[in-house]
């Protein structure tokens, strides 16, 4: 090939043209599909985002899983089991979406276990009472929906389609959580107290789920350019606050924010400053449950290795036997 001695001269113009064509497709709102050419940076960006999302679903099973064995009624136990099963389904679905970009589930899991890949830091907080299960459904699934509805129009096709499917289940989780909160808020004094305590502990971490202010979020600019993202973290956070405060009012619970006020002029709620130091401390390891979550994921994986090996060895024997017959 002529280009072989000076590849950069041949590759460079090609790459530029391809990138321009890629950006034009994005700008024209054409979904990017796995077989389409895409810039290596975009591919890596999407792998990072989708697998981080998948890890969040997977790790997110653990805090709620703690309460399966203590659910107060059979109906709640069944609903909680079903919810956590949905989260496993979301994880499986998202790991597959990541695989369309040329990575493997094994690789992405290895990155989770080594601590290289992140998951949503909300799951580093402990789930202490039954009211936390209600609050997680109401606020954490609620915040996830706001994020994920926005992602239903993201530029990468398989991710966008995964979001459409997942959003339906998340809104079911959110309603279920809100229903638990309604029961508690209208229940005995100790139940109402439990509900308020849970809201006090989860409110600010839920607001942090939308990520830092866009000015402090290094990837925001490129994410907008590629239409991975269409709304800023702050816009989504505001939408969540506007949506949630009337629900808290309905429950007769109050969010732990003395600065919260309705702003007639903007038509939005104003809220107080977020403690970003706490956010970063928890992300970097100072949450109550960071180690427990990662240990649980690692040991499930390590303890399950012989099971996966057995399944592969058996499938291999079956295949060989079939070949011998044929």
């Amino acid at each position: 090939m002529a280009g072989q001695d000076r590849p950069e001269l041949v590759a460079a113009p090609d790459e530029t043209a391809l990138e321009a064509a890629f950006q034009a497709r994005v700008d024209a709102e054409t979904r990017i599909e796995p077989r389409d050419w895409m810039p290596e940076k975009y591919r890596r960006f999407m792998i990072r985002q989708i697998s981080q999302h998948a890890h969040s679903e997977y790790v997110g099973m653990l805090p709620e899983g703690n309460w399966i064995t203590r659910a107060p009624t059979l109906r709640r136990k069944a609903a909680l089991l079903a919810k956590i099963q949905d989260e496993a389904g979301h994880a499986a679905y998202l790991y597959s979406a990541a695989e369309t970009l040329g990575t493997t589930r094994d690789q992405t899991l290895e990155d989770l276990h080594s601590g290289k890949a992140k998951y949503s830091s909300i799951f580093n907080y402990p789930v202490l009472t039954w009211a936390d299960i209600g609050t997680i459904g109401w606020l954490v699934d609620g915040a996830a929906i706001v994020n994920q509805v926005a992602l239903c129009r993201t530029s990468y096709g398989p991710y966008a389609r995964a979001m459409v499917r997942i959003c339906k289940e998340e809104s079911f989780h959110q309603r279920q959580g809100f229903e638990i909160m309604t029961t508690l808020a209208h229940g005995a004094p100790e139940q109402k107290e439990m509900a308020q305590d849970a809201l006090n502990r989860w409110w600010w971490p839920a607001l942090m789920m939308f990520g830092p202010h866009d000015a402090d979020s290094p990837n925001s600019e490129i994410a907008f350019k590629w239409k991975v993202k269409r709304q800023s973290n702050d816009e989504l956070r505001q939408r969540f606050v506007d949506m949630t405060i009337p629900q808290a009012d309905f429950l007769g619970l109050s969010v732990p924010d003395p600065d919260l006020t309705w702003n007639e002029t903007t038509g939005h709620y104003d809220f107080g400053p977020i403690d970003w130091d706490e956010f970063w401390r928890v992300v970097k390891g100072d949450g109550l449950c960071n180690r427990d979550r990662l240990d649980a994921r690692r040991s499930a994986h390590e303890d399950g290795a012989w099971v996966r090996e057995a399944a592969m060895a058996h499938a291999e024997k079956k295949r060989a036997a079939k070949q011998n017959v044929a």
Partner: protein, 258 residues
């Protein structure tokens, strides 16, 4: 109510509790795996089984409450009865152990449970027949899933074989309870409400033997066997811890709505 009818209802009530307790206790054990399974797909599959079991448990408890006629709800029956009043099979309260132990427990149970529910499907009690008709489809899937793992583990690697063999040795002695009948069981069988449990032994053994053969395994060598849970509420020590956890909310906050 005349004496024979009252006696029949008391027996039916107890019979339904045995069914409900067994399903709920096994559901609880499977729930302990949630998020800790060897692969995501198994988390999903085990949760499916757990969901079917809790669905069955609820229907049996609800019916039991009605038969008893004292206004006890499904939750009062599940969460406010003491250990000695629980009548689940000893097998299903055994701890999860490794995945081999869990799958061996599940397969031994599923193979029997499928036969039991096929019998209940023919029940002269229409309510039980209806519950069983739906459950048979679910349990058919459970049995296929657990049998599949027994085969994979038996005919997999050295390690998986060693583990599944050990699991069957540790659990087989609990299966005597499957076929052991007391007066209540006989009364239910005579009334055509439930099957003759002793008649389930041969088809169960045939099924288990066939799956073990496909797994390249022989019948376990352990000769011990125990009874006590299903008839007398005489359990292994594991159930007490489970109930302490399972019932903690209802015990801590009596009489509240959740």
């Amino acid at each position: 109510m005349n004496a024979p009818a009252a006696d029949r209802d008391a027996a039916l009530f107890r019979y339904l509790l045995r069914l409900g307790d067994t399903s709920h206790v096994l559901c609880h054990r499977l729930g302990e795996w949630c998020g800790h399974g060897p692969i995501m797909e198994e988390d999903i599959a085990l949760t499916n089984v757990a969901l079917d079991l809790i669905g069955q448990a609820r229907l049996f408890y609800q019916y039991a409450g009605e038969v008893e006629g004292k206004g006890r709800s499904e939750d009062e029956l599940a969460f406010l009865r003491p250990e000695r009043d629980f009548n689940n099979l000893l097998l299903v309260e055994q701890p999860n152990g490794d995945y081999a132990r869990t799958m061996a427990r599940q397969f031994l149970f599923d193979a029997w449970n499928l036969l039991l529910f096929r019998g209940l499907e023919q029940s002269t009690d229409p309510r039980i027949a209806e519950i069983a008709a739906k459950a048979v489809k679910e349990i058919t899937y459970h049995r296929r899933h657990s049998a599949g793992w027994v085969i994979r583990m038996g005919d997999g690697t050295e390690e998986s074989r060693r583990r599944i063999v050990a699991a069957f040795e540790q659990l087989m002695g609990f299966t005597a309870e499957f076929f052991h009948m007391d007066d209540i069981d006989r009364q239910m069988a005579d009334a055509g409400i439930g099957p003759d449990l002793s008649a389930l032994r041969d088809p169960w053994m045939a099924d288990v033997e066939a799956v073990l053969a496909e797994a390249t395994l022989g019948w376990p060598t352990a000769t011990w066997s125990v009874l006590g849970g299903r008839h007398e509420g005489r359990h292994t020590e594991h159930l007490g811890y489970m109930l302490a956890e399972m019932q903690s909310m209802q015990r801590q906050y009596p009489g509240l709505n959740w």
